[in-house]
């Protein structure tokens, strides 16, 4: 019984991931292209420059600090905007989110939503 449910859940999970991966890839083709063209491209370095410092706290594990990998771009962006406007409370993220322009928050959100697709 449990096995059956697990099998169902895992195949559902698999399909979801394939769907999301495919969708994200299609939607972000331009961004990927910019990032992908070469690691020497300016947009690639720019996205890394803004995003890498977040990894100090937000790694792969989901203990008391959530991982950003594989979160959806809109989810990350909206959360950051809510912290920035103090609509969402967090002792630390309300401070950090105010350090970036709207454009920068978009780049960071996109970067992490895509990182989950190819990071181990």
């Amino acid at each position: 019984m449990m096995k059956g449910i697990m099998k169902y859940i895992s195949s559902y999970f698999f399909l979801c991931i394939v769907f999301v991966s495919f969708n994200v890839f299609a939607e972000n083709k331009d961004f990927l292209k910019a990032v992908d063209s070469s690691h020497t491209s300016k947009s690639f370095i720019e996205a890394r420059s803004l995003s890498l410092p977040c990894l100090g706290c937000h790694g792969q594990s989901n203990a008391s600090i959530p991982s950003l990998f594989q979160l959806k771009e809109d989810y990350i962006y909206n959360a950051l905007i809510e912290y920035q406007s103090d609509k969402r409370e967090h002792y630390l993220m309300q401070i950090i989110s105010k350090g970036y322009s709207d454009e920068e928050l978009k780049i960071i959100s996109k970067y992490y939503s895509l990182q989950g697709l190819y990071n181990e």
């Binding site: 698999f14 991931i17 394939v18 991966s21 495919f22 890839f25 990927l32 990032v35 992908d36 070469s38 690691h39 020497t40 491209s41 300016k42 370095i45 720019e46 890394r48 420059s49 803004l50 890498l52 410092p53 977040c54 990894l55 100090g56 706290c57 937000h58 790694g59 792969q60 594990s61 203990a63 008391s64 600090i65 594989q70 002792y91 630390l92 401070i95 950090i96 989110s97 105010k98 350090g99 970036y100 989950g116 697709l117 190819y118 990071n119 181990e120």
Partner: protein, 424 residues
């Protein structure tokens, strides 16, 4: 979901070929684009080395580091406060060697010849295309009267995580009821501004729980608590009013080795456990190699990319950099990690001859005020062109509003994450 599984799934849909170039972006031009030598496998050096290898595996990266394993300064106060052991904060370099092909040379650096682009160790000469120096701080005992090499046993600093951390931890654990612990704090700038106050809090927290009638005296060279002052003071007043005695403007000027006493300009204080945190400066190695301006204690760098403002193709990151050059960023582990990443991107930009991007840095320092609760300070920084300095962004700097158990949990999870970020 790991890379292999994703690839397999994509393969099923026949899109793997379109994703493949993206996944292996950096392997497509597998040629030797240059050699980067990193001195110091601390927070700055490891962050720089791993970031370079993650983005550009074809760059050869060699780290020169005396120690054969990594011991974390951040969280070492947890060992002194009896919450964690040395094993919990000590890690191997194996992942960096095996997964990222970073070569380690466990030798002592002797000097740099910038004209030949060579760094010499006690055993060999290494040529470099880019050199990243992240040598940390040097403890300066020159102003402490009666200081001798063997004073360390009675007056450990435990300011570089290692045997002294264990020594101080054991002393705290074994203190008798009625004993006195004294911590001496140097004038800033020093590594980890809130560190001494966190240490005091964690020792007090342990004494309160397990020992009777003990005291903890803080002799601070500074006029007031250097970092997170109000939050520390509030915790001390509420939790340790009968244990902690804080004395501002009380720099230690000498020690009495025989009687285990600290001397200030005003008094002599007998200690059962003494922790002497001395003044700090950039290591002599940097001065000997002309990388520090005359009369200065810290290395001169350009804040845009942390390149040396004195020598080409040399970058300096972490605690040894001058705040009067860089701007008001604290000497913290998080900042060294951020500086390492900025420097890595700048080095890659130089090796591939592309334009550098404006640096972006974060700092967060978590401190425990007891075995149960923590506080924090955070800031986001970027480059200010007018002042040619790294500056905190208006509105994006501040303290946690109060102390909480969530912040304690976040502190340990932060450490676990950032260790993995550098070593995983």
């Amino acid at each position: 979901m790991n890379r292999r599984l994703l690839l397999k799934n994509m393969g099923n849909l026949g899109v793997a070929t379109s994703l493949l170039p993206f996944i292996s972006i950096s392997n497509t031009n597998a040629k030797n684009v240059g050699r980067v030598v990193v001195l110091g496998a601390g927070w700055g050096g490891l962050s720089a080395a791993k970031t370079i290898k993650q983005i550009s595996p074809e760059v050869e990266v060699i780290i020169i580091e005396k120690n054969k394993e990594f011991t974390s300064c951040p969280m070492s106060n947890w060992v002194i406060g009896q919450l964690k052991s040395m094993e919990d904060i000590t890690f191997s370099f194996d992942n960096l060697k095996n997964k990222y092909s970073i070569k380690f040379i466990h030798e002592e650096a002797i000097n740099i010849d910038p004209s030949k682009k060579v760094i010499k160790t006690d055993k060999q000469e290494l040529s470099y295309d880019k050199l990243i120096l992240s040598p940390g701080v040097e403890l300066d005992y020159s102003s402490i009267e009666n200081w001798k090499e063997d004073s360390l046993y009675n007056f450990p600093a435990a300011w570089k995580a290692g045997p002294e951390t264990q020594l101080l931890s054991n002393k705290v654990k074994n203190i008798s009821n009625g004993g006195v612990v004294v911590i001496s704090i140097p004038l800033g700038p020093y590594r980890c501004p809130p560190g001494p106050y966190e240490r005091a809090s964690l020792i007090a927290s342990y004494l309160k729980k397990y020992k009777k009638n003990t005291k903890l005296i803080i002799l601070d060279s500074n006029q007031k608590i250097v970092s997170k002052g109000a939050l520390f003071q509030e915790a001390w007043d509420e939790l340790y009013s009968d244990i902690i005695e804080y004395r501002a403007n009380s720099g230690v000027v000498g020690i009495d080795n025989l009687n285990n006493k600290f001397m200030t300009d005003f008094e002599e204080i007998k200690c059962d456990v003494a922790n002497l945190i001395p003044s700090q400066r950039a290591p002599k190695f940097l001065k000997d190699n002309g990388l520090i301006d005359k009369g200065a204690n810290w290395a001169a760098v350009n804040p845009y990319d942390f390149s040396s403002s004195i020598t080409n193709d040399v970058f300096i990151i972490g605690d040894s950099t001058s705040q009067s050059n860089v701007g008001g960023v604290p000497k913290s582990g998080y900042v060294a990690n951020s500086m390492g990443k900025v420097c890595a991107l700048a080095v890659i930009a130089e090796l591939y001859d592309v334009e550098k991007v404006s640096p972006s840095l974060i700092n967060t320092c978590y401190s425990l005020v007891s075995s149960e609760e923590g506080i924090s300070v955070s800031a986001v920084y970027n480059y200010n062109k007018e002042d040619n300095k790294i500056k905190s962004i208006k509105g994006a700097t501040g303290l946690s509003p109060n102390r909480s158990s969530l912040i304690k949990d976040n502190a340990w999870d932060w450490a676990t994450n950032i260790w993995k970020d550098m070593l995983g």
